[in-house]
């Protein structure tokens, strides 16, 4: 029953994809000769003027270009011409570094805040004010103090991914069932052992959910951050190709950003499943 449902859903997905690609192709294809001009002039004007082709690339153009990129993902022809693999690698490395730093800060801090009602109340106003700040708003401050654009981008990732993790950890730790805590108390389990054997496993699903939200936000923010700081990364690539007026490359980059984002989310989803327990 479920297998057939999955099969039918897959079929519908394929049909939708085919329809989308078909409409895209029809909308951007050449309509035939629109103006007669000397061949040399026509060469200068390009297909848009002579054949009525849309300036927007069609799926076949994008496919061909994508294939080119996939064949050579790691070439490096200087600062403005690097393979997509290298650009994505830079972005993933920045996200990974900023995100891991955020994990190292948010989870222990969240534990402390969640276990202490005093700290929870005392830090709440700060968190409430800091949380809604757009991570890019930190960028000038980061550039001014850190004086390194690449590290600044990492800092921006750090600051944007810390809040969901921190808040979820606080919530998860603070809402561990009283009875589980009481079990640990009646067994005279010490605070540290209690934190690791009762509170951590009980709060783990909530913490992992926060981490999953964070990685999503971090991947959203890195594109914008790299557009600002420039140099390397998939965000820079998008802006650079816009300046080159290569819409094909922009579309390819958009596609790849989506795919990498999905993979990052799936990895965290798998971790979440590992720590989730049925009640």
């Amino acid at each position: 029953m479920t297998a057939s449902l999955r099969l039918r859903a897959g079929l519908v997905s394929l049909v939708l994809l085919a329809a989308f690609l078909g409409i895209w192709h029809l909308a951007t294809r050449s309509t035939g000769t629109t103006a007669t001009m000397s061949p040399e002039y026509a060469k200068l004007m390009g297909l848009t003027a002579t054949q009525g082709k849309s300036a927007m690339p069609g799926p076949l153009d994008v496919g061909a270009k994508l294939w080119e990129h996939l064949k050579r993902p790691f070439y490096d022809n200087g600062p403005n011409d690097k393979g997509l693999g290298i650009q994505l690698g830079y972005s993933i490395a920045r996200v990974g570094t900023g995100y891991l730093l955020a994990v190292l800060v948010a989870i222990p801090l969240g534990f402390l805040i969640g276990m202490s009602p005093l700290l929870s109340k005392a830090l709440d106003p700060f968190i409430q004010v800091l949380k809604p700040i757009s991570p890019l708003a930190w960028m000038p401050l980061a550039l001014y103090t850190i004086k390194d654009s690449s590290v600044s981008a990492i800092f921006v990732i750090f600051i944007c991914s810390i809040w969901p993790m921190l808040l979820n950890t606080v919530f998860g730790v603070a809402s561990v069932r009283k009875e589980w805590i009481n079990v640990a108390r009646t067994l005279e389990v010490g605070t540290v052992r209690r934190a690791f054997t009762v509170i951590l496993p009980a709060a783990a699903p909530t913490i992992l959910t926060g981490m999953r939200i964070s990685i999503g936000i971090a991947w959203l923010v890195i594109v914008a951050a790299e557009m600002l700081v420039g140099g390397t990364g998939i965000g820079y690539f998008v802006w650079n190709e816009w300046n080159n007026l290569s819409i094909t490359n922009v579309i390819i980059a958009i596609l790849l950003i989506g795919i990498v984002g999905m993979l990052l989310d799936q990895i965290l989803a798998r971790f979440t499943r590992m720590v989730t327990f049925p009640e």
Binding site: R185, L187, E279
Partner: protein, 307 residues
């Protein structure tokens, strides 16, 4: 009472209420138990039964008074006093064995893995869960979960067991079986047990002593009823005992009417000397002033119908 294994001495529990007033759940509560005794507390919701149990467990602190267990005032929780929770409170990410082993390794921290496992296994076998060691709590029925709770409590070999309505969430059949198990285990191990229940029959079957509490707030321990049934009572012929109905009626009368009116009817009730009711022994029953002699069972009459 010569051997006071547990002595609750004048405890009170108060909570700050609205507008600076304090709400007193109970105060000046005195209660004692001998070693190896099985006591049940009966009273309506809100009379502070669970609070008394939590104070005994060390999970809650009394606003006044002290609790002395085995000659020592308690402060906080202790591995000597195991708690069986109403909601079984198993850790859902651990297996049956993991849950019991967690308690065992908390008590004996220096034990190695194999020793902890063997000890835990012994208690899993004791409650009849052999074969289910590697199941998670979510895969168990309510009765099996509570068995794990019992195994966990027993595995640390406590001096006493505290049970907060341990069987109230179970169906009647499972409840009966588990009552049998608990009774057998407590008799075998000479465990001192303190149990809260709403179920009069459960109290009669399990308890040596039944504590009756009046309604809260301002609840008091009204009477201590000694169970006249023999220690080796059986579930099936319990109700044939000549004193069974007299005892049952006494408790139900209390719950239905006297728990509400007790405090007004007996203003001179001394919480330090709570009357002990001995059903079937008129000479020894409450001899407090002003009370009419209680109708007691006489040989040859049917106490259940006459009361």
């Amino acid at each position: 009472m010569t051997d006071k294994f547990i002595s609750i001495e004048g405890i009170a529990k108060r909570y700050p209420g609205a507008g600076g007033a304090t709400t007193t759940i109970f105060e000046n509560l005195w209660l004692s138990m001998a070693r190896g005794e099985f006591a049940c507390v009966i009273g309506h919701s809100g009379c502070g039964k669970t609070t008394v149990l939590n104070i005994l467990a060390g999970l809650d602190a009394p606003s006044e008074g002290a609790v002395i267990v085995d000659g020592q005032a308690i402060s906080g929780t202790s591995l000597d006093r195991a708690v069986i929770f109403q909601s079984h409170a198993l850790l859902p990410w651990r297996t049956v064995l993991g849950n019991v082993a967690y308690a065992v390794s908390s008590k004996w921290r220096s034990w190695d893995r194999a020793k902890v496992k063997a000890h835990a296994q012994k208690f899993i076998d004791l409650v009849g869960l052999s074969g289910a060691e590697h199941k998670r709590p979510s895969e168990l029925s309510g009765g099996m979960k509570q068995r794990v709770g019992i195994a966990r409590a027993l595995s640390i070999m406590p001096k006493m067991m505290l049970m907060d309505e341990p069987f109230s969430a179970l169906d009647a059949l499972t409840r009966g079986t588990l009552q049998d198990e608990v009774r057998r285990i407590c008799l075998e191990t000479g465990q001192t047990a303190f149990m809260i229940t709403h179920d009069v029959d459960e109290a009669i079957y399990l308890a040596d002593k039944i504590f009756l509490m009046t309604n809260g707030p301002g609840a008091v321990l009204a009477e201590v009823v000694e169970n006249p049934l023999p220690r080796d009572r059986g579930r099936t012929d319990l109700h044939r005992h000549p004193l069974y109905y007299a005892l049952r009626n006494h408790i139900i009368d209390f719950l239905v009417t006297r728990s509400k009116t007790f405090t007004t009817e007996k203003p001179d009730h001394d919480p330090r000397n709570v009357p002990t009711v001995q059903i079937g022994k008129p000479g020894l029953s409450i001899a407090s002033s002003g009370e009419e002699p209680r109708q007691t069972w006489m040989p040859g009459t049917n106490p259940g119908l006459s009361a």
